[in-house]
């Protein structure tokens, strides 16, 4: 019996103690008619050895293509120490630290995570994680609407240059609370959100919040200072959506404009978390101290024990669903604890300088790649201006999807076709380079692309 320790003797003596004949007797309160028959759609169990083989085969089917896809999930080098430590049983098989004294490992790691994320974003506080970057944006919007009592508005401006999947998830999550999501368009030549578009979206009505991506979905850098100040002038709170790796080089949202933003959210995956087909990742949310009581999700705080020794506990619990129930700041309960551990280890092991170098390599490789690809006849950059580690290409003469198909045939994932997301943008593709994409990898890509467009 996989994972069940009971011997026949155990079972017999347990049943006798309870006073039932057999195990089935324990289900005697359940109406007979409700009892399920044989689960024919569930395969027979297999020993671990056979499951190993099945999964090895399936994993092998995935191959190991050279990946220039980004668009919200980024291939990075992950130091080997991280997952060897993160999967230690004491982290892996513990739960939410309800018993603080027996959970100082998880609690202190989380406190360190909060500290490092606050440092990275330039904000005062951080929560203990949300599911991912997309749902974090939704939570931030709900938080801003809740927190911005002055504005008395449920209008939120979300630029089109925000990741389309983030906008989808946000729509799903905020849709039933009367929140109005207003788009702000991007400029067709720069790929960024100009002030005029923000103004157009703001209109004359009150606005609760404005979302500003940095870099935006196209990899381009937004004029965050101007956008932040304009939003604040209108009484809106500002929500930054930022890539953590980019923040190694870019001004932290806490310093955007005159006052800094109010909330920063984003996807923590680039901080040591594998691509893993889309998850588990980790959403982060940082904010000002005075908004801390509006935050969704868990937060860990420092305190002392009965003898005055420092220790850590979950705090501001009165915001949460298990206490506040229908009035909670969010319904979130289980969050992404283990990913917090991995990200904390990543930040500690890379250190500020190592991390900055990673970001510089991402940026330098992306610049080089764009130049190398644009040197190919028929390939051109869609947008002008600075970018971090992603950029949009146009291809003359062949549909992007065909080109990507050819590349896939050569075991290269060349990027993301944008037409399905932006039908008014025309045929284009989003390409990413990170520190993993040195000369050899870029050359392989350029040569394959040259063949594909020839």
């Amino acid at each position: 019996m996989p994972f069940i320790p009971h011997t026949e003797t155990d079972v017999r003596s347990m049943l006798d103690a309870i006073g039932v004949e057999d195990i089935d007797g324990l289900f005697d309160e359940i109406a007979g008619g409700l009892r399920a028959g044989e689960l024919e759609g569930v395969p027979e169990g297999m020993p671990e050895m056979a499951v190993n083989r099945l999964m090895e085969r399936r994993a092998a089917q995935e191959g190991r293509p050279l990946c220039f896809l980004g668009a919200g999930a980024y291939p990075h080098h992950i130091p080997q120490a991280i997952w060897q430590l993160t999967t230690r049983g004491e982290f892996y098989s513990a739960y939410t630290p309800y018993q603080a004294e027996a959970s100082q490992g998880t609690l202190q790691v989380t406190y360190e995570f909060q500290s490092m994320m606050a440092e990275l974003t330039g904000m005062e506080v951080s929560n203990a994680s949300l599911y991912d970057g997309g749902s974090a944006l939704a939570e931030a919007i709900l938080m801003a609407v809740r927190g911005n009592r002055k504005a008395k508005s449920k209008r939120v401006i979300v630029p089109r240059a925000v990741h389309p999947h983030y906008r989808d998830a946000t729509r799903t999550i905020v849709r039933n609370q009367g929140i109005e999501l207003v788009e702000a368009d991007f400029d067709r030549s720069t790929g960024t959100t100009p002030l005029e578009q923000l103004d157009a979206a703001l209109g004359d009505e009150a606005v609760a919040a404005v979302v500003i991506p940095q870099p935006n979905f196209f990899g381009r850098l937004e004029d965050v200072d101007a956008l932040t100040d304009r939003a604040h002038e209108c009484g809106a709170q500002v929500i930054a959506v930022a890539n953590p790796t980019a923040l190694a080089l870019l001004s932290p949202p806490g310093q955007w404009g005159a006052k800094g933003v109010d909330i920063v959210v984003g996807e923590g995956q680039p901080l040591g978390i594998p691509l893993s087909a889309g998850g588990p990742y980790v959403g982060f949310l940082c904010t000002r101290k005075n908004l801390a009581r509006q935050m969704p999700g868990r937060v860990v705080g420092r305190t002392v024990d009965a003898e005055g020794n420092t220790g850590y506990v979950m705090t501001l619990r009165a915001r949460e669903q298990d206490i506040r129930r229908s009035k909670a700041t969010s319904n979130i309960c289980t969050n992404q604890g283990l990913m917090v551990t991995a990200a904390t280890l990543y930040m500690s092991i890379m250190g500020p300088e190592g991390f900055e170098r990673v970001a510089r390599h991402c940026h330098a490789n992306a610049r080089a790649l764009r130049d190398e690809l644009c040197a190919i006849d028929g390939v051109s950059a869609a947008f002008d201006g600075p970018f971090f580690h992603e950029f949009v290409l146009r291809i003359d003469g062949r549909p992007v999807t065909d080109v990507l198909g050819d590349l896939a045939g050569e075991d290269i994932l060349g990027g993301l076709a944008l037409e399905p997301y932006y039908d008014d943008l025309g045929d284009a593709m989003l390409v990413c380079a990170t520190e993993l994409h040195g000369e050899d990898e870029r050359r392989a890509f350029a040569e394959a692309l040259a063949r594909a467009v020839a």
């Binding site: 019996m1 003596s13 347990m14 103690a17 169990g45 190991r64 603080a100 440092e119 749902s135 039933n176």
Partner: protein, 494 residues
């Protein structure tokens, strides 16, 4: 008292093996957009980081080190194969937007998983998108709303929720724009049927139920409740957090539920990770199929493909940017393939056996259980009201003292309707002798409560820290390290 990683930091210390060669200044980036100071992350060596986090880990109680009978959380063994196989490089390196042609292996697993979960729950379709139980609830209630809306039935404004329900239930209802209306529990632990009859009406969008319920008993009137709600035009939502008790024995679909979520990090043994990640797939009956959250996996001509918003115009949409907690789903899939059909039923059987045995033994030992006339499901409630009144100790004191004996404490003070309660869930993976030890520890602690209640009130005593001051933490907010905290000279209270 353990130091923070920041306390090991020295300016200029670095981890050479992670240091890429110097790269050019990013001088194409406008000065105004550039960062002027590095984040004050710790500057430590690899050894310092390894040592710090290894030692921190040892401060945790966990399933791998302790019996962890935390009710409602199903802290069962997390088989190591699940972890290893979900972390095969082919899976780990798969980009979420990789086209299906780039690799069918992952999609094949997800397709199988959708079907297996549909089968064990008796539902028609499953989406794996929700990232945890609460998100599953949200997705489920959103689908209920979408269903009513699609029929033009837009006046329904309430979701019924038993008073014993988990906090995520009312919170999820609220997030969907519904008012959560509470239903009382009767003295045998079932939902009060008369109250239900009174509560339903044209305003009823649906009801959220956990069955077995959060008080640890099987809701016996479930079929009648289904009829009442359905007749009022509402739908039934099944919170699958307690599915472990009836896995393979009773299917939510057969009880009359229209929509369900599962907690794979409970029933399907994916790791709890110190607070996630989880996975909260949702399943629906025929009538709600169009609304399932995206993406899902379908089979077309023998190939697996994604189904996204483009294919599902009525979907409630995405829950997260990509396809949910994929790595968690893979772990659940591995677990399921090892267990198989018969193994699933055994989960319910032995989880129930352990709970009823433990309940019996504790009753014999003189503890009061909340619903003595009932079978336990996979968990049950002990109330320490008598001990509280006689010895002046609380359930919290009792729980903290358990830590001294090397047991993680049960869930305390949930559900709220039972005073001084401990919700105890041994799970099927614990051995009888450990349950027997647990009974001994309960007995010993009660003796201590009688003879020396202070011992409980000041517990724990044998852990690196004594009782932590939660009130102070919330009053005097320290949510992050700042540099002054690491300077030996200054503020112990930064």
């Amino acid at each position: 008292m353990t130091e923070l990683i920041f306390d090991h930091s020295h300016p200029g210390r670095s981890n050479g093996a992670q240091m890429l060669p110097p790269a050019p200044e990013p001088d194409d980036l406008p000065e105004a957009l550039r960062r002027s100071e590095r984040p004050r992350w710790p500057e430590v060596s690899e050894l310092q980081a390894v040592r710090h986090y290894t030692r921190l880990s040892q401060l945790n109680f966990s399933i791998d080190t302790h019996v962890y009978p935390l009710g409602s959380c199903t802290m069962k063994h997390n088989p190591r194969a699940c972890n290893a196989l979900a972390m095969l490089p082919g899976f780990l390196e798969r980009h979420p937007l990789a086209p299906p042609e780039a690799g069918q292996g992952y999609l094949a697993c997800m397709y199988d998983l959708q079907n297996i979960l549909a089968e064990v729950t008796g539902m028609r379709g499953v989406s794996l998108a929700p990232a945890a139980g609460a998100q599953g609830e949200f997705a489920g209630v959103s689908m209920i709303r979408a269903y009513h809306d699609a029929r033009g039935d837009t006046e329904r404004s309430e979701i019924l929720v038993p008073d014993a329900a988990h906090g995520t239930n009312p919170a999820s209802a609220s997030m969907c724009g519904y008012k959560a209306r509470e239903l009382p529990t009767d003295e045998e632990g079932d939902v009060d049927l008369d109250a239900l009859r009174d509560a339903v009406g044209p305003q009823t969008a649906g009801i959220m139920l956990t069955n077995p319920s959060t008080v640890g008993v099987f809701e016996r009137n479930i079929e009648e409740m289904a009829t009442i709600v359905h007749e009022a035009g509402g739908l039934l939502y099944y919170d699958g957090a307690n599915l472990n008790a009836i896995l393979g024995k009773v299917r939510p679909g057969d009880m009359g539920f229209d929509v369900i979520h599962l907690n794979l990090h409970k029933t399907f043994s994916t790791p709890h990770g110190g607070g996630g990640p989880g996975a909260g797939p949702v399943g629906v009956r025929e009538n709600l199929l169009p609304y399932l959250p995206t993406p899902m996996v379908a089979e077309e001509d023998g190939r697996y493909v994604w189904r996204t918003e483009a294919d599902c115009p009525d979907t409630i949409g995405r829950m997260t940017a990509f396809a949910g907690n994929a790595g968690v789903l893979l772990r659940a899939y591995v677990y399921i393939r090892m267990l198989g059909r018969r193994g699933m039923e055994r989960v319910a059987e032995y989880a129930t056996l352990n709970a009823n045995y433990l309940m019996t033994r504790l009753r014999e030992a003189g503890f009061e259980v909340a619903f003595p006339k009932r079978r336990a499901s996979h968990e049950f409630i002990v109330t320490l009201k008598r001990e509280h009144d006689q010895y002046g100790i609380s359930a919290m004191d009792f729980a903290k003292r358990m830590l001294d004996y090397g047991f993680h404490a049960p869930t305390m003070y949930f559900p709220l309707l039972v005073p001084e309660c401990l919700l105890i869930e041994p799970t099927e993976t614990e051995a009888k002798e450990d349950l027997d030890r647990l009974v001994e520890v309960f007995t010993t602690i009660r003796e201590e409560a009688e003879n020396n209640p202070e011992l409980l009130r000041t517990a724990p005593h044998t852990l690196p820290l004594r009782r932590l001051d939660e009130v102070r933490a919330a009053r005097d907010l320290h949510l992050r390290w700042s540099p002054e905290d690491s300077e030996p000279a200054t503020g112990t209270e930064g």
